[in-house]
Symmetry: D2
Subunit: 342 residues, 4 copies
């Protein structure tokens, strides 16, 4: 369903050409001739027509699509919230889920120590990167397979499910063996080969928003995963890139109510990346819960000044523990709960 606005100086032959094209595709046409513009409405159903193609036809000023381009992620087609369990926890329900852990898995001791501290502080799910996307080829790139092994050990010790990033299609089977949730990082939000691979895996996915992707593009990327029948997808708002320089990213908190309205998928906020400085993480985390987020993913490191990545935005376990206490109050204020980890 589409509306085609013709140019002010359009000729009858141009209008006819558009109509023929549309009817050929199986649609019906609704012609509306105003004083200033002729408008062609496309109705019914037919073979897919590309908006682009129509906009290139002679005499056409622009096309307006009436429907959103995403279907499976669209709340119009599935009005009820999507929920699913991860271990004992329900994602997308009335309880708020807290994921916490270091940016990178740095050693066996570090991840186990941090996991224990996070769980004691109230976190439900353990985060930690084994494969790390880094702007520089000279930076620490993660421990890889070794990091996955340590994560598995930390899971065994604490009972916490694990979320970790997968960066390439060929590693999806391996990472899926270790991770309870596969994370798609911001830089890979439009890495379609990877989206297909995690879609096929049927594993739960945390899909981070690209740093300059629109909410519509974000839902289109979710669509790639959903299209494989993999419905266990969480959206994760982690800040967008703007002109502002005092913070690493700009936390687009508007995305929380917008996604809740547009889509049925759960939405998680990442206040660590969204601010980029530990001093601001608590404020952003509380804001996210008050605005309706279904969960948080927060960087915690026992000694941030020694972290091999993202130390500047990591909370120490004591600060994190205090934050969880405050989050419980905020959650309650908006009719939700944060239960103690099991």
């Amino acid at each position: 369903m589409m509306i085609i606005i013709m140019k002010s100086d359009v000729r009858m032959t141009e209008i006819s050409a558009v109509i023929v094209r549309i009817e050929d595709a199986g649609f019906r046409v609704h012609l509306s001739e105003g004083e200033e513009r002729t408008i062609i409405g496309v109705i019914g159903s037919g073979a897919p027509i590309d908006r682009d193609q129509i906009e290139r036809m002679s005499g056409v000023e622009r096309c307006v699509t009436v429907l959103k381009p995403f279907k499976l992620a669209n709340r119009e087609f599935k009005p009820s919230d999507t929920t699913f369990p991860i271990k004992d926890y329900e994602i997308g329900g009335s309880e708020i889920i807290i994921m916490a852990g270091p940016c990178s898995v740095e050693s066996r001791e570090q991840i186990i120590e941090t996991a224990i501290a996070c769980k004691e502080a109230g976190a439900h799910i353990l985060r930690g990167g084994a494969f790390k996307p880094r702007s520089s080829p000279y930076s620490f790139q993660g421990l890889g397979k070794e990091g996955l092994d340590y994560l598995a050990e930390a899971r065994e010790v604490t009972g916490m499910p694990v979320v970790t990033e997968v960066m390439e299609p060929s590693l999806v089977p391996l990472v899926s063996q270790y991770a309870d949730i596969l994370q798609i990082g911001a830089r890979n939000m439009q890495n379609y080969a990877l989206l297909h691979a995690v879609g096929k895996s049927q594993h739960p996915v945390l899909l981070k928003r690209g740093m300059s992707n629109t909410m519509e593009e974000w839902l289109m990327s979710a669509e790639y995963i959903l299209n494989h029948g993999n419905t266990r997808v969480m959206l994760c708002e982690r800040g967008i890139r703007t002109f502002e320089r005092y913070t690493r990213n700009t936390f687009d908190i508007n995305a929380i109510p917008v996604m809740k309205q547009m889509s049925h998928l759960p939405i998680i906020a990442d206040p660590s990346h969204a601010t980029g400085k530990w001093e601001y993480v608590s404020a952003a985390a509380k804001g996210a819960i008050a605005a309706g987020a279904d969960g948080l993913i927060i960087e915690v490191h026992p000694r941030p000044e020694e972290a091999l990545s993202d130390g500047v935005q990591s909370l120490k376990p004591e600060k994190f523990e205090k934050l969880v206490e405050q989050l419980k109050l905020v959650a309650e204020a908006v009719g939700r709960t944060i239960r103690n980890p099991s």
Copy 2:
């Protein structure tokens, strides 16, 4: 205090020239010759040196300024929070202040009816535009002086203090007679003649952030006002312009903790402009309070579908009343209160 990084192929004569310039201005120099770069530290005090001028000198790669360019707004120089009374309310204290009302004053009846409804719902201060900045010369530009008269009447009826926008220096005296708080709109954040005028007026000011101004520029604009000895300045975050199109602006909630850290001035959030759609206003308002805002300014209109401006982002009084109830819970969760209007 400044650090000057010289180019890798710098010559001794270029280094000398920079040193002479700096010492001429009365500063001392600290020379540090590394293998890869020579660095010149500027220490002590002297006549102001423009970073730009130094960066244009031969052999200079770049200059780094060590201190923030704002002084009066800087928390380093005034560690305690700035608070001041507006009528019976204290701005910047432990109580959260709610300003509400229509985008534009449209008629005597409209503004009085809305003021009464807002107060009943829990608002402390009445907002309403008499002079309206509009992108189009063909849009409703506000009732002007007549609007101010209606605002005065609404204030008399309800006892609510009034915040309203002033758009040009020559109108500051007039608007000051009617308004308890002068609003500087986003488009005028760098209208320096206007900043000087409201600075001189010694009237309380609500300074909105420009839609694409950095937090640093915002504080520099506050500095223009503070520099006149007018210390009753509130900062107002109202959303910034980004690539995202589902919302009118992107609410930069990070600005709340950042401003609290950088500055001693109170910070108010405007969830109506920050989202641009009434459906998202509640989420953004709750997020702002949870993140530490000192107050809110919210658009309320009894019949938004008839509003002459910004109806899409205005709440109906009933929705607003419900929101205030929820805000009280969120405020409490973060250790603050919203008291009933007096």
Copy 3:
């Protein structure tokens, strides 16, 4: 003329309410009921309807406006290029106009020396700021009235017309006595009181694009001036604010062909602000001419390392002279000319 897209679950009463509203305003309605959406076309003429108001009506999903909101600046309504003379030069014609001079007028000697050098190098019009908008209240704010006097003297000596910025409505009469062209700076693009004032002045205007204003908003600001019957308006692209940090602004060169298509007004490029570094000015200037700009405004300073503002982006006269020689070749390559100053 407008298209209203109703929600998927719209009720008949909601559709009726919209129709009544539109017909009340004097328009006719064209109803198109598809399987998925009902669409209401608004045809004919009537009292202005605000898109916002309709979007707030129950059952409405969104409105699409068919016509551009600017009229006087729109090429559809005035197909031929706007041209007008400034002294012996024609703006907007086949000849390319070069404006050059220092960011700020700093002294009598400086502006006269620079004006002579610029003219010798091939510039037609002299630029120089007497009133300077500065982010910091502690920076040099320009010589004010004294600067205007020096500009007048430089004009007398060289015969060059003068373009200089006016920053507040009350100074328009004064600045108009001295300036051949009134410049509206980027920060004031939406300072409507100022736009009205320069509109009324009937003086030629150089309207800079705001650093984060869309091209549509820019043309709407031009509309404010044109609406006073002042048709001698030049648009000036001076770079927009983006996330990129290696340059001060991002030169939106696309604006040149877009403005040429959308509007009949002349377009000038400001490569000095658009790049923010003198090293890149030549490339941007040549690019602008090749892309179809009608003129350039370039910062030139005899001793940039001593400039009181924007030294980093100023060319020395010798570099500027070389640039003009290169620009002549580029102009010729695209069928235009740069004549020697008279």
Copy 4:
């Protein structure tokens, strides 16, 4: 080499801790105690220190890195321009290279017809996508392997070398068999697994800038490829994402002189994506050459209104031919040439 700025209220023990950390890594320290701030300079060489780690240490306000983070791409380390041959053409030399062809390979006939037309019009290299990254899973995704076969045929018929996109690491060997140049698309600029794969392949690479990546990040991505000893890398500016909506992207023409200054790698401009509308492609293409680009990549389609992707931004062969004629004049004006295809 790094400069560490300590907080105003720093304690001696905090300063000592930073010094110990730095000396432990093998560096020397240069202490500079000013009235307002203590500054620690890091000199000499040692084990890599993460800026992040230092910024998390107690008492540290911020760190400034003195050197650019890219090395192999840095002109400081390789002053002369990188040039390399593709068939008979030299990339990065005095001759400007034009790549042209359809967005997608749609059929055997279409690509051969277009290739012939492009070559006749003056193009040197054939572009055409076999694997297409598309925002929507419901859009045409390219012909895949079949498309590569058609490209090979078109190459055989015309003698034109081929540039085509590769989207996943596992396909690099296959695509390398067909392509003379591997294109990394904007969405994959930070797909590090893919960058490693094309680096290892030792095949020439066209590296598109991500739509919201800084120039520094872009060079860091080039660094990933160069680090494998693959030095045949071209940078491709294709527009960045901003708030502007009249064009699909904002062509960051500043990137051309900046990259020429910062790096020795050739830079290609893509005016089709940078504008997103065929009407603006000619202006942007001419601007790019005038600003110093080493080549262009332009979308050409014999029947844009039938194109399966990006028809709106494709030129028809006749328009393209006219453009090449104009480009030759612009190239000459800036001292370069566009030779006829061989």
